[in-house]
């Protein structure tokens, strides 16, 4: 196989990825160009491509507002609940509505019935900036009275665990993206057309009964999902490990 030298733009990108603070140290394109011994155009193109790939270079003063959240999906739980796990950050959960609704046609197949559902619409907010907008549907038979509970700043999964006998057992998360519009753009406070994650999750209890469906929208450039799997070639055994 042929050998190739690393192209200068690739070289700059990799140097910056390995040592991102260089950007704030050097501050200007000219200083970076001198430092790496390349042209300013190369620096500009490299920084531009890195930004498109989600690398954020901002002034130190505004770190909190630009923090990228890593959501760890190792254990099953609605991953919205994972966001708050970093204890130095203060994320508020605001309930926009919590009410009983008729079974929406598109959820009938999942819940396998025509029962009424509890629909909870929530926002997660960091320093007045929304991070997520989420709509959770729960079986009204399994979670009686939940629609009367004040769930502001309450971890929903924690609350369900403490107050109802339902044991979450397994589920599936589907991750897609879309461009923010209407209620999503409004509650995420982003302009129409901003890329956002859409995460749909279907969760089942230990009797294989469906109990929850959530649609969660997250601001695209604020989140990164992380997953870690061990013993990957013997995934049967791996499952035992998690239990």
């Amino acid at each position: 196989m042929e050998y190739r030298e690393i192209a200068s733009k690739t070289y700059v990108e990799e140097q910056i990825k390995a040592n991102p603070t260089i950007v704030s140290q050097k501050l200007t394109e000219r200083a970076l160009a001198e430092h790496f011994g390349v042209s300013r155009t190369t620096i500009r193109n490299a920084l531009n491509d890195l930004a498109m790939e989600g690398y954020v270079f901002q002034a130190e003063t505004d770190v909190e507002q630009h923090k990228i959240f890593e959501i760890n999906m190792l254990k099953m739980s609605s991953f919205s609940e994972e966001v708050k796990k970093e204890d130095d950050i203060d994320i508020n959960i605001k309930v926009l509505s919590n009410q009983i609704i008729n079974m929406p046609a598109e959820l009938r197949a999942f819940f396998g019935s025509n029962e009424k559902l509890i629909r909870i619409i929530r926002q997660r907010i960091l320093n007045k900036t929304p991070l997520s907008y989420e709509i959770t549907y729960l079986s009204s038979n399994k979670f009686k009275g939940l629609e009367q509970v004040d769930l502001n700043n309450v971890s929903l999964y924690q609350f369900l665990k403490e107050h109802y006998p339902v044991k979450p057992s397994h589920g599936r998360e589907e991750i897609t993206y879309e461009l923010a519009a209407e209620d999503k753009a409004k509650y995420l406070q982003v302009i129409d057309g901003t890329p956002i994650y859409k995460v749909s999750s279907n969760n089942f209890d230990d009797n294989f009964q469906p109990f929850e469906h959530t649609e969660q929208y997250l601001v695209g450039n604020r989140f990164k999902y992380h997953l870690s799997a061990k013993n990957i070639f013997n995934y049967g055994e791996k499952n035992n490990e998690i239990v």
Partner: protein, 227 residues
């Protein structure tokens, strides 16, 4: 036992003893015909038998390969990993395959020296309604016998497992990014259009890095099954 069965048995032995490793290319049928000094039909029948036993895959116009151990179905059934929502029949087109120095960034990720060589392989997976770009970063030292042709038959897990170290751990990241000019062109989308970037970092049982894989995909649904 018929002659073609004997040849099939002999080939099976070579596969089972690892003489032909998973994903490696078998000699072309014409060569086998010469090696065993038999007719084309006999070789064909022997290979048919191996294909039937799921031990060999015939790739049209490419050649014969020792079949992967993991089927696509296995992978789609795995829990706890980020995986595509559905399997789409696709064609792989290799765009770049070369050796380069690891450089600072990959040397940190792969725990090797910046001057060590790595394979840089990029290819497109083209399906009916989607294009996925994949990049593999494989250190030469871990993959001394690497053949680019295995890219066409093996899953990512098996490619990364084909070297000296065996894969045990997978760390995955999923990010929403936007297409730059190069990605837009390759993935047939607009510049600034959103894309998923999946980064897979493979490690052995001692958490030593083995390889890195990146995927860039538009129009794709990823799923994670939990137990």
């Amino acid at each position: 036992m018929k002659l073609f069965e004997k040849i099939a048995d002999h080939l099976i032995e070579k596969i089972n003893t690892g003489q032909y490793g998973v994903g490696s290319e078998l000699p072309p049928e014409v060569q086998l015909q010469k090696d065993y000094d038999v007719s084309r039909t006999t070789v064909r029948k022997a290979i048919d038998l191996l294909v039937e036993k799921n031990m060999v895959v015939r790739k049209k116009g490419v050649g014969l390969f020792v079949a992967p151990m993991l089927s696509t179905q296995n992978i789609l059934e795995m829990t706890g990993i980020i995986k595509p929502g559905t399997y789409q029949h696709h064609k792989k087109i290799i765009k770049e395959a070369y050796l380069r120095q690891a450089g600072l960034y990959y040397s940190q990720l792969l725990k090797i020296k910046p001057s060590e060589l790595i394979y840089y392989i990029s290819f497109l997976e083209i399906a009916k309604n989607s294009v996925v770009k994949e990049i593999f970063i494989l250190p030469l030292n871990h993959f001394p016998d690497f053949q680019v042709s295995i890219i066409k038959v093996l899953s990512a897990l098996e490619i990364t497992n084909s070297g000296k170290k065996k894969v045990d751990k997978l760390e995955q990241d999923l990010q929403l990014i936007v297409a730059n000019a190069e990605l837009a062109k390759q993935l047939r989308c607009q510049i600034n259009e959103p894309l998923f970037k999946v980064s897979n970092h493979y490690f052995d049982i001692n958490s030593e890095p083995i390889a890195i894989e990146y995927k860039f995909a538009s129009n794709t649904k990823y799923v994670v099954d939990f137990t």
